[in-house]
Structure formats: C-alpha cells, structure tokens
Amino acid sequence: MAEIKFEEAMKKLEKIVEDLESGELSLDEALKKYQEGIELSRLANQKLESAKKKIDLLVKNKKGEFELKPFEDSGQKEE
C-alpha cells in the first residue's frame, strides 16, 4: 500500500465495506477484500496517531514560478 493519505484510506475502506455488505462477492473475493480492509484500517489508525503539522509558505520567485518553503509557526515575522 503506497504512501496513502488518511482520507484516501477511509474512502477505500468504505467502498470495501459496501461491497462486502452487498453480499455479491464470491467467498475468495470477499476474503481478499476483507484482508485489504483490515490493512487499510490499520493504516488509517496509524495515520490518526502520527499526523504531524505540515505548513509551507507559498512564494513566487522572480520568474513568477511558485515555490513552497517550510513555514516555522514561531510567528515568523514577515520579511
């Protein structure tokens, strides 16, 4: 499971639960979906605990291109 965002994991998990509840899956499909679901659930939980703040500052360089620079929230004085 590549680096997945919490919200993506939740969406996928929701879809899997719906599929399983629909009852149309064959047993081994259901098994595969179930395992995927458990993995997503574990991942989402891990995300919940480990989420850390990420703030960047959008700046436009001379060429008018956008760049993102980390923003320290120490109330950094605007230059």
Binding site: K5, F6, E7, M10, L13, E14, I16, V17, L20, E21, G23, L25, L27, A30, L31, Y34, G37, I38, S41, A44, N45, K47, L48, A51, K52, K53, K54, I55, D56, L57, L58, K60, E65, F66, L68, F71, D73, G75, Q76, K77, E78
Partner: protein, 430 residues
C-alpha cells in the same frame, strides 16, 4: 451730488469674491446632491440643495478621487470646503475638499453601494456557492503571516487531527496595498493549482484576518477582493474579524466562518470523530465478513450433507446398475463368449453341413433324373431298340427321302457301329 463710483463688472465681482472668501473661508455645508455631472476631466460638478435654496458645488479630481462612495443625485451629504466665486460666470460656489454621507458614514454607504451592485450581478447567489470538501488534503491560507488569524488557525491544528498540508500565502490584511495583495493571493492559489500535480492541488482556501475596526477590515470589502474570491475555482471560506463583522468577502465566499478558528474547524475535523468513524467502519468490515463466512459454512455443510446423501444414493444406484453392467460385461467378455462362439460355429457348421448335404442330395436326385431323361433322349439309346439314324454326305440327319438323290452316299448309325451305302431308289411318302 457726490461723484458716482461706477464699478466695472470684473471690479465688483472681484470685490464680492474677496468679501465672500474672507467672510466664509472653510465651511461645512450639508445638503442634497442634485444635477450631478462627472466631467471627463474627472472633476465633479453638482449643486447642493435644501428645501429652499441651491448652492453650486465643485469637487476637483484631486479631491474626489479619495471618495469611498459614489455620488448620486438625492444623496444627503456633508461637505467641507471653501466658498469661492467663479468670476467668468459671476457664480459663487462651494469648492469641496472632503465629503461624507449624512447619517451613515461614507464607508458604510460605500459598503452598501458595492453590496447592491454585486448582488445585482448575482455574485452572492447561493447556487454559485461551491461545496467545501470534507477532508481536504491541501488547504490554502490567505492571511497575514504574523497576524492573529494565523495563530488561531494553528491552535486549531494543534488540538485537531491534521493530516492535511497547509499552504500559507502571506499578505497584508489592512492598509495600503492590502486589497491588491489579498486578491493576488487568491488568484495565485488558482494559478498554483494549474501547475501543480493533482494530489498537490489546493482543495479549499481560507481567506481572512483577526478582529479589527471597520477601517481595519476594509480590504475585505473591496470589489477587487470580492471578484477574486468569486472567480476562484477553489472553494473559499471567508473568516474576517469576529462573529458580528460581515464583509463583502463573507457574502461572496462559498462559506462564511464566523472566525478564522471556526474556518479551520470546518476543514480540519476532530480526531475523536475520525477515530470513531474508523472504528465503526472496521467493525462493519469484520461483521460483514464474518456473517458471510458463517453463511458459507452453513452452505458448505449443507453441501456436504447433500453430497454424502447423494453419494450414498449414487452408490446404491451404481451398485445395482453396476452389477448389471458387470453381468452384461461378462457376457460381452470375449473370453466368456468364446465357447458361445464355438458353439455357434459348430451349430453353423452343422447347419452348413446339413444344408450342403441336403442340397447335394437334391442335386444328385435332379442329376439322376436329368441324366436318365437325358439318356432316354439320347438318340443313341433308341438305337439299341433297333432304330437307326441316317446322315447325308454333309453329315446332316436325313429326315425326308426327297432330300436325297439316288446314287448319293449315305451313312447309317445303328446301335452298334455304322453302315455306309449308296442310294438306289428314293420314295417320298405322301
């Protein structure tokens, strides 16, 4: 009579001008604007009137450019300026430096005017409001990098679940140049989105600032900011000042949050809510699967039961048919069949023999019969009963006397041997 002093028009007009300007100097005058005309040069010409008098007025471009609101006939205003005389037309007028709407302040009036204008254009229509995404991955912030709003928002992030990526576009939120920076920041985020990869694109933007006076918040009432927000493809949450402060930005935004922290709470859910939802989903996942597994187990058991019944049944069935088959097989068994074949062969052989023998006898009998008839018909047999056969010289049998002439040689076959003779006389019967 003393010498009459006769003024020239310009003399008396100038004297009047001096007296008037010295007497009044700078004055505040209130009245209602009428026959307002904005001259191409940028100067405003109009009159101020009340129920019984009219005062000509002029507001040069240099002064009217500072006005926050638009002048319209019928507006009640308070003006500050100098009384002056415009000699070429012998007209006294008020040359206005500053002007305020009567009753409500000019800012308020300007706000109402802009609101009316934008409302007419439909910028506030609810159907233009866009959905705020539930769990946005990337959130844009247009506020001051060192302002109170940012601190509030960061506090919200602290205590809530923030898996999202915040991108701050730091701007001045009041004073000179604020409105341009704010509008530009909103446009920049939209530009940023066009260049960014889908997963980096900003899904929602918070535009706002901390509390302040109406002048402090004024940038968020500016038309340029209103239009930038309206034209933004990215949904905008406005968060300007405190609960009671309403700005044009709030009316145009897709969602108005009472304060910056409220805006943050709108897009950054509480951790508890999320974990609760996650637990719920996980539970449903496990239950649905268990239920299915249980069903399957039952189904499988049922299968097994039916299968075993079936097998037994099949077995019996087979058994009987099996043995039948077996017998049949034996019968068909080539080795077993051998004696039968032999037997068959013998019987066939016998039959053949019988047949053959039978047909032989028949043939023999026929043969005998034929041969006896044959011998009866054998012309030579008649001979032994005294008959004879006479042949001509040509070898043909002579049946009529007339066919022979006397002197011809004839040959007679008798039972035993032949006689050669010469014909002396021929006599034909009848």
């Amino acid at each position: 009579m003393e010498a009459r002093h006769i003024y020239k028009v310009s003399e008396i007009t100038r004297d009047i001008k001096v007296i008037l300007e010295n007497t009044f100097g700078q004055v505040w005058v209130e009245g209602e604007i009428s026959n307002f005309k904005a001259h191409p040069s940028g100067h405003f010409y109009f009159s101020l009137k009340d129920e019984s008098a009219l005062l000509a007025a002029v507001m040069f471009a240099r002064a009217n450019k500072e006005l926050k609101f638009k002048l319209e006939d019928g507006q009640k205003v308070i003006c500050f300026g100098n009384i002056g005389v415009y000699e070429p037309r012998g007209q006294y007028q008020l040359v206005i430096e500053k002007m305020e709407p009567q009753g409500v302040g000019s800012l308020q009036l300007a706000l109402e005017q802009l609101k009316a204008k934008l409302e007419k254009e439909g910028l506030f229509d609810p159907q233009h409001k866009r959905q705020i995404p539930y769990l946005p991955r990337n959130i844009g912030l247009v506020t001051s990098g060192s302002g109170a709003a940012l601190k509030d928002i960061l506090k919200v992030l602290e205590r809530r679940f923030n898996d999202a990526h915040i991108i701050l576009n730091s701007v001045r939120v009041q004073g000179e140049g604020a409105k341009e920076e704010i509008a530009q920041a909103v446009n920049d985020f939209n530009l940023f989105n066009r260049q960014a990869r889908p997963e980096d694109r900003i899904e929602v933007m918070i535009v706002g600032r901390g509390g302040g006076s109406i002048e402090d918040l004024w940038a968020f009432n500016e038309e340029i900011v209103a239009r930038a927000i309206y034209n933004s493809a990215i949904p905008v949450i406005s968060a300007v000042g405190h609960e009671r402060d309403w700005t044009i930005a709030d009316l145009v935004a897709d969602l108005r949050a009472a304060t910056p922290s409220a805006a943050a709470e709108q897009v950054i859910p509480r951790k508890e809510d999320l974990s609760q939802r996650l637990d719920e989903l996980t539970e449903r996942l496990i239950n649905s699967f268990l239920e299915m597994a249980v069903n399957c187990k039952e189904e499988i058991e049922q299968f097994i039961r039916r299968l075993s019944l079936g097998v037994a049944h099949i077995w019996e069935l087979n058994n009987s048919s099996f043995s039948a088959l077996l017998k049949k097989l034996n019968l068909l068994n080539p080795v077993a069949l051998l004696p039968r074949h032999q037997e068959k062969i013998f019987s066939l052989a016998r039959q053949i023999y019988i047949q053959a023998d039978h047909s032989l006898k028949i043939r023999q009998a026929e043969f005998l019969k034929f041969s006896s008839r044959l011998s009866d018909l054998n012309p030579l047999n008649i001979l032994n009963r005294g008959y004879s056969v006479t042949f001509g010289s040509d070898g043909a049998v002579i049946k009529e006397a007339k066919s022979i002439k006397p002197g011809a040689m004839i040959q007679t076959r008798v039972h035993k041997g032949e006689i050669f003779s010469k014909v002396t006389e021929v006599k034909q019967d009848g």
